[in-house]
Symmetry: C2
Subunit: 146 residues, 2 copies
Amino acid sequence: MSSMSGELRQAFLAADVRPTVQRYAVLHYLARNRVHATAEEIFREVNRRDPRASRATVYNSLKSLARAGLVREVVSDGKAARFDASLHPHHHFVCERCGEVEDVAWFELPAGKAPLGARQVRSFEVVFRGVCEKCAAAQSLTGETE
Amino acid sequence: MSSMSGELRQAFLAADVRPTVQRYAVLHYLARNRVHATAEEIFREVNRRDPRASRATVYNSLKSLARAGLVREVVSDGKAARFDASLHPHHHFVCERCGEVEDVAWFELPAGKAPLGARQVRSFEVVFRGVCEKCAAAQSLTGETE
DNA sequence: GCGCTAAGTTAGACTTATTCTAGATTTACA
DNA sequence: TGTAAATCTAGAATAAGTCTAACTTAGCGC
Ligand SMILES: [Mn+2]
Ligand SMILES: [Mn+2]
Ligand SMILES: [Zn+2]
Ligand SMILES: [Zn+2]
């Protein structure tokens, strides 16, 4: 199948990932829906009206795309892994009430802060936890005991 | 069962967690073995010679202990959740080759760095990824193509 | 101590998440 | 085109975690 948009196709080739309809569908969904979707959600949406990829292929695609850096797996809390079309580096905020994972603009760590010894750091991410804006609002309306 | 060491017992009571043999066994294992164990590992080790807790109870205990702050769940990559007897705050380093999760000494984020808006941040953690010291050594011995 | 009640535990069934398998299909490239 | 390697598929298999209903135990007042 060669009906893939030229631009995306280049991205795949540049990243040394064979362009296939399935991989394209997965990446396309993630790029359009910036919601930290689970593999299951991606599977469902990608096959909504038109079967495109089996479950195994969604997992395989996510793995290939992640290896190539076109997608990244974000921190998950025990439950299903969540994915992100990482166009730009950023950090995450996880709401302890509703479970939403929100983006936080990127910032560097001041050099020399982290005592990492001889480890080779390839990337890092700051994960914040707390109460998101929406939940905080709902909370202040209600009794708000806790 | 009231044969729990006085010190631990106080910790439980202070944290408002009912002291039970099972919870004690789980916490004790985590405190003695600083290895970011999975629930399954804890289950196996805790019951090694002497049955102490069912699988469900290990999960329940971890949940109670985590809620009370006596234990924390560390970032995991899709696979099984890992736990840590969090005696002191610290960050983590995940080796992309062997999967080990190592501790990184705590450091604060410079105030004002993170653009978090109206979110209520309760905690944060920096997760580093890369190659651990051991794997880096093994790698430089071998051909080391990748 | 004794007895009551709420909280906690258990084994095992169940659900959900992810990986594996073996055969069919597609891609890259000459 | 022709071919080999890579990828895809449905479904089986495995792993991780939750739930249930019956059975203890901890906490508390007498
Ligand atoms: Mn994100
Ligand atoms: Mn740790
Ligand atoms: Zn929220
Ligand atoms: Zn390593």
